[in-house]
Every structure is written in C-alpha cells, then in structure tokens.
Symmetry: none
Subunit: 247 residues, 2 copies
Amino acid sequence: MDMINLSQFELVSNAFSFAIAVMGAATIFLFLGRSQVAPQYKTAVTISGIVTLIAFYHYWRIFDSWQGAYTVTATGLQATVHKFNDAYRYVDWLLTVPLLLIELILVMRLSREETTQKAKSLATAAALMIVLGYPGEISAVTGEKWKWWILSMIPFLYIVMNLVSGLTKSINAQPESVRQMVSDARLMTIVAWSFYPIVFVFPMLGVGGAEATTYVQIGYTIADIVAKAVFGVYIYMIAVRKSETNA
Amino acid sequence: MDMINLSQFELVSNAFSFAIAVMGAATIFLFLGRSQVAPQYKTAVTISGIVTLIAFYHYWRIFDSWQGAYTVTATGLQATVHKFNDAYRYVDWLLTVPLLLIELILVMRLSREETTQKAKSLATAAALMIVLGYPGEISAVTGEKWKWWILSMIPFLYIVMNLVSGLTKSINAQPESVRQMVSDARLMTIVAWSFYPIVFVFPMLGVGGAEATTYVQIGYTIADIVAKAVFGVYIYMIAVRKSETNA
C-alpha cells in the first residue's frame, strides 16, 4: 500500500473525530427526543438512537486504530506495525444496516404481519449484503474485489427494488401530512446507500494507493453520517409529525 | 511559529481545562433542566445541551492535542513532532454554530413555515461562514488570511442582518414577560460571535507569534464559553419563563 502523507493522515483523523461528535450528538438527541413521540413510535426512535450509538462506538475504535497505524516523526509520517482495522466498519454495518431498514418500516406503522415480513426479508438481505462485501474489501486482488462487489450488489438491488416497488402502496397509505417525508426517507436510504458500492470501487478504478485510502475513508464516513445520523433525525421528525396527528 | 514559553503553555492548558468543566457542567444542567420546561420548548433545551456536549468533547480533544504538542524539559518547554490540531475548533463550529441559531429560533416558537425557513437559511449561512474561515486560519500568509476572513464575513453579516431586521417582528410578537430576554439572547449571539472574527485577525495585526498563539487560543475559548454555555443557559431560562406563562 502506498504510504499516505501527513496531511492525508490528519484529514482522515479529523473526519473520524467529526463522525464521533455527530454520532454521539445524534444519539443523545434521539434518546431525549424519544419522550416527545407517541408510544407507537418510540421503538422506531429508540432504534434510530441505537444505530448512532453503535456507530459512535465504532468510530471511536476506528479513530484509535487509525492513530495507532501511523506515527508522526521528525521526517514525516511513518506506518507502525499495527495495520488500520477496516473490519470495524463491517462489524458496524452488520449491526446497523438491518436496523436502519427496521427503523423505516417501524415509523411507517404497517400491519403487524407486513411489519414482520418486511423486517425479516429486508434485514436478512442487508446482513447478507455486508457479509458478501467484506471479502472484497480486504482483498488486494482487483478481480476478487469485483467478484464480491457483484455478489454483494444482488441483495443491495433486492433491497432497493423492495423499497421502490414494495413500499409504494404503504407510503400512499401514510397520513397526508407525512407522506412526502416518508417518501423522502426512502429516497435518502437509496441515495445514501448507493455511496457505499461507489466508494468501494475507488481502489478498483485506478485511483492511486494513498489517495484511494483517503477517499475511501472519508467517503464511507460521509455516507455513514447521512445514512445514520441525518436519517435518524428525519425518522424522528416523521414520528413527531405522526404523533401530532395521532396517526 | 515562534515558540511559546512555559507560562503561556500552562495558561492555555488551564483555559482549555476550564472550558471542559464549563461545557460539561452546562450539558448536565441543560439535560436535567429539560424536564422542567413545557413540551414545546424541550427540543430547544435538548439542542442547547447537545451543543455544549459537542463542545465538551472537542475541548477534551483540544486539551489532549495541546498537551501532546509540547513537552516540558529541564531547560524549558519544547515543541514535539505533533502539531497542535486547530481543526478541532472548526469541526466543532461546523456542528455547533448552525445548532445555536436553531436553538434561538426554536425557543421563539414561530410558525412551522417560518421556523423551517429561518432554520434552513441561517444554518446554511453559519456552516458556510465556518467553511470559508478555515483556509484562512491554517494559512501562514497574511494576504490569504485576509481573503478568507473577508469571504467568511459575508455569511456572518448576512446572519447578523437577519437577526437584527428579520427577527424584530417575531420578537415583538413574543409574550411580554420574555420579550426583553429573547432580544438579549439575540444581542448575546451578535456580540459573542463578533469575538471570533476579531480573534481571527490577531496574528494578522502584527501581534507576535507566541503571544498571538496564546491570545487566539484564550480568545476563542472565552468566546465559546459565552456563545455556547452562557447562551444555552439563557435559552433555558427563556424556555422556563415561557412555560410558566403557558405561551
């Protein structure tokens, strides 16, 4: 791996610290805000806060792992014997990505059967997507990376198709006052989640070693902030609005 | 950069530690006090506490970075290979400055449309102000510093103008008992925020290297304490007063 330079190291460090602050702030906001929604929406808001809390924990680990992987010397940055641990991201996603879909389903307040069925199928597909992505992420062989990327895209596309077609009827059944917001939350999921497969392919498209490392780390961080913290607050806002109209 | 001396190092260390204590204390006060305000003001108080919590986190990082940047030896203070990370401040402001304006807007309890519109325009201007300030902060070239200072002043003046003219009608519509307090909170924002562009120009006005470093760090710390902790408690007091009059 090409060695990153000091300013790349600092840029990524600052992005990780930013994510720690955002995820922590979102967690507290959601846990406190939970008291402001009707009982039937409390679980959706609780899960939103749990997702950002899990991410807060992992970004703390990611930050520490990043600091430990390099050392600043008088002549510049040097790699240590400790490799940066990318697995924290995948462990995080394995937990949070199924939960994010469950948040969206819960705030819609479908029938019990529909909730269970959709939660199971979408959460399973989400976990599968993460599990299939990881071997590609850690492989240094471009062909291997593409193979796992393609395999991981199958559950990803299944989720997107389900969100687009399967949820349309349910969204149309939402109260008028939140219909647009729920539709926006769905769109936010699709757009934010599309970042991940795009960031994944940076190193496969010939973006140079050190630059690719920097872009991949910052790209994933931005995607996580949108998909978890911004999305979570949006779910909360939908829950507040629905609580007001007693829907 | 001219080297600071041991007493300057200690003075700044103590100022950072003071900020950690104040921000932590304000956070707990606001989170506990949240139960004492009417439901419609809880979000304003929650956000006030989140702002001081984010600042608490960043002052902890700033303190550690400052300690790591220097080492005390038998012959005096020496710089280490680790540079003090000024970016923590900007990362903090990027998050907290838009939230501070949202606090003020939420406690005023305007119409939903007005709240959304003002929150969006002011928060965007605030984020832009921070983003435009950072390149100037890290540049060592005085001309560059002035250029970014001027660019950053444009959104700053937009915010001030909005607070002064745009909010006057809304302030006059506040209940009698809090009208003066809301007006004071607005004034506090304008005055405290004016510290920042003034502190920013210290190094550009020929205040010497080591002295400038000391003044800049202490100046920003005082400004942060007023703009976040004192302001947050003031927002809480307005919320309490408005809750009593059921406004």
